[in-house]
Amino acid sequence: MLLAFSRSRRALGGLAVLALIATACSGSGSTPTPPPATPTPAATTEATAAPSPTAAPITCGTAPVELNAYFETGFDIPFKLSEEFTKQFPNVTWKISQDQFTNLTNATPRLLASDTPPDIIRLPTMVSLVKDGLLKNLDGYVTAFGWDKWPASQLLQNRVAADGTRGSGSLYAAGLNYSMTGVFYNKKLATQIGMTTPPATVADFEALLAKAKTAGLQPIMAWNASASGGGLAFPLQNLMAAYGPTQPINDWIFQAKGATIDTPNNLTAAQHLEQWVKAGYFPKDVNAIEYTAANSRFGKGEGVFMFNGDWQNAVYDKDQPGNVGFFAFPSATAGGKLAAMSAPLTYGIATKAKNADCAAFFLNWVATNATARQINVAIGGSNPGGPSDLPVPPAAAGSVTNDTLAGGAQVAKDSGGMDFIANATGSIFAQGWTPELQKMVGGKQTADGLLKAVQAEYVKELAQ
């Protein structure tokens, strides 16, 4: 029998549903409340500091410990290091989760604020996490392990001051190794266009690009699709450092007060990049090429040059053994200072981490243990950092790692290390650099407009 619902019954039903929602809503109060167990935002260095240096030496102990770790996919080095660590310290086991760089950037705040935060996690960006009190202050470990005796520049990028600017203040992250970026080249194709030594100036490099173009080769292989972020930011930043000092660039990345990316030097750099785009030095479909696709195409011989970092060394050596070389991007003038993006692969410890001491001990071990340093060079392809009196293990013969380590030494001598412009704020890469660089490739953005648009986005994000 069909119940004919009168209007009043229908209204009653509606009221019942609303009542259900109301009771559910009232539980969360009249204002949206943040998820539970969020630590109070602490931009100062008290209360979350590590144990005092006069306490017993910090180790992982002898009782079974399970380190909860979050790594980035596609990078073998932390996995290999964790395996070696367990070999040397059998009581420590690992529970490792992994995700892509872009997903990690989004997920990290939630992971750190959860009830089971990771003991050690790869950090794409840091400042907002520090401002929200989600990262453990590592100053105590600095004194306990003697990290303050290492070259100061190693820890500089991971320091955050009380006002949120980077480059000074307490330490909130540690690096697993110190990457080096620059120009990789296909040795066979380079000889084909007559390159005998790495170019000494930007003009020399541009001459080589022109020669490659007329020879019918793809001058530069790059990636610029949204999924992996705008790879053209690499050559852009290299050009910026070639036409001006690195300090203003680092200031902008570290969110120093009044810093701007829209400077005359950077405009020159962006104009050169625009010329390269118009001259067809990048692949026609670069806006649709993702990072892995670009590397595989370079590995198959498409592209004379590629702007990338030494984390890719192992893949380059595998795809084209002995055929890949590297040089640091030259300065604008002959004999000028060399500069490059060189950042530690940053890892942090959650404020509420259960095994913070053991995680810190691991970070110290990576930089000081001989086997760990060897793994760092062989698999990570990078300088392991650490105390300056420890030797840098040599790379295999014929490996491009030899070139990148040499380039890294040159840049260190010229104090030309910079962080990546993509890391200036939490979303400057996805909301600023990538779409604007894509527009430049599509002919819809000028060099001047690019810098102004990114600076506007930067200011907007900092104001939030």
Binding site: M1, L3, R9, G13, A16, V17, L20, I21, A24, C25, S28, T31, P32, P34, P35, T38, P41, T105, N106, P109, R110, A113, S128, D132, N224, A225, S226, A227, P283, K284, D285, V286, N287, A288, I289, G426, S427, A430, Q431, T434, P435, E436, Q438, K439, V441, G442, K444, Q445, E461, Q464
Partner: protein, 312 residues
């Protein structure tokens, strides 16, 4: 005497009414109890998040710190920021590919199958057309990224027929990215509309076709006068489902272009995700979500009304 019997009948009537209304009330209560679990789940997983979204849209919040009341300024932002407006327009542009083409092409294909491809051939055609519906959108997006790439099948075919000058990375070109994404949607939804319309066609009385044929109507006239009006409800369903999918698309765009190049393929569904989790502007994201819901309702309700059978 008369009063007493009248009172008696009255009492009897009232007694019958009470027992009947008590029965009705009990059945009503039982009905509510049966529906309660489903309503509870619906309220918690659909209505509550909806209410919270509206609440969040009135604040500026990064997801972690204390929210700040900003009233309707997020809505002002959504309706005046050119980038956000363009996002909404992209959603509307996708309606052409996700909705108009599948429905119209689906009508034609369904008619053809009904007329000429009955039996085995018709079944094969239906299955092949419906397969895209079975494939997860993410997988479809990944496959299409490869197909539409500079060295992909589409460009290979174009080169083979001599149109090499037209080849490009379809998903990386500012002018073709959104149509390319739209065509993926057409591919996914054509089968759904075709099968739905085919099923609806079996409802139409064949006597109508016979009568029309006797009167000398051709195929196109039959189609216009009998088939399309008879499929009113099915067309309504198709249009509703596909318009909603067009306006809230996320999977296909996220996997193929991520909203790029530039903001050429940024659609509301993806922008809400980007704003909430990358830019950590939960308030603006929620406002965009609410605007999207309103727009969808504004489009769908008239369609629902128009496609209702007369006399319902």
């Amino acid at each position: 005497m008369i009063d007493r019997s009248a009172a008696q009948t009255d009492r009897q009537r009232r007694a019958r009414r009470t027992s009947r209304s008590r029965k009705v009330r009990r059945e009503t209560l039982l009905g509510f109890l049966f529906v309660l679990p489903a309503v509870a789940i619906y309220a918690v997983f659909v209505l509550l998040p909806l209410a919270l979204t509206v609440q969040y849209s009135l604040y500026r919040w990064d997801g972690f710190n204390v929210p700040v009341w900003v009233g309707l300024s997020n809505y002002e932002n959504v309706l005046t920021d050119p980038d956000l407006l363009n996002t909404i327009f992209n959603g509307f542009r996708l309606i052409f590919f996700f909705s108009l083409i599948p429905v119209s092409l689906g009508l034609v294909v369904a008619s053809v199958i009904r007329r000429s491809a009955t039996g085995g051939l018709g079944n094969v055609a239906r299955t092949v057309l419906f397969l895209p519906q079975v494939i997860p959108l993410v997988a479809a997006g990944i496959v299409w990224s490869v197909v539409l790439s500079l060295t992909g099948v589409v460009n290979q075919l174009l080169t083979a027929i001599g149109l090499e000058g037209v080849t490009r990375a379809w998903l990386g070109d500012f002018d073709t990215a959104l149509p390319a994404v739209g065509l993926i949607g057409t591919w996914v939804l054509l089968g759904l509309c075709t099968v739905l319309l085919l099923t609806g066609m079996t409802k139409i009385d064949p006597a109508l076709y016979e009568a029309a044929r006797i009167d000398g109507a051709g195929a196109i006239q039959e189609f216009r006068a009998i088939t399309v009006p008879g499929l009113r409800q099915e067309i309504g369903v198709c249009v509703t489902v596909t318009v909603i999918l067009a306006l809230r698309s996320f999977d296909i765009v996220y996997v193929t272009t991520g909203g790029g190049p530039g903001l050429a393929t940024m659609v509301p569904g993806l922008d809400i995700y980007v704003l909430a989790f990358q830019a950590r502007a939960v308030g603006v994201a929620s406002a965009l979500a609410v605007v999207l819901i309103v727009l969808i309702l504004v489009l769908i309700l008239p369609i629902q009304y128009l496609s209702r059978e007369k006399g319902e």
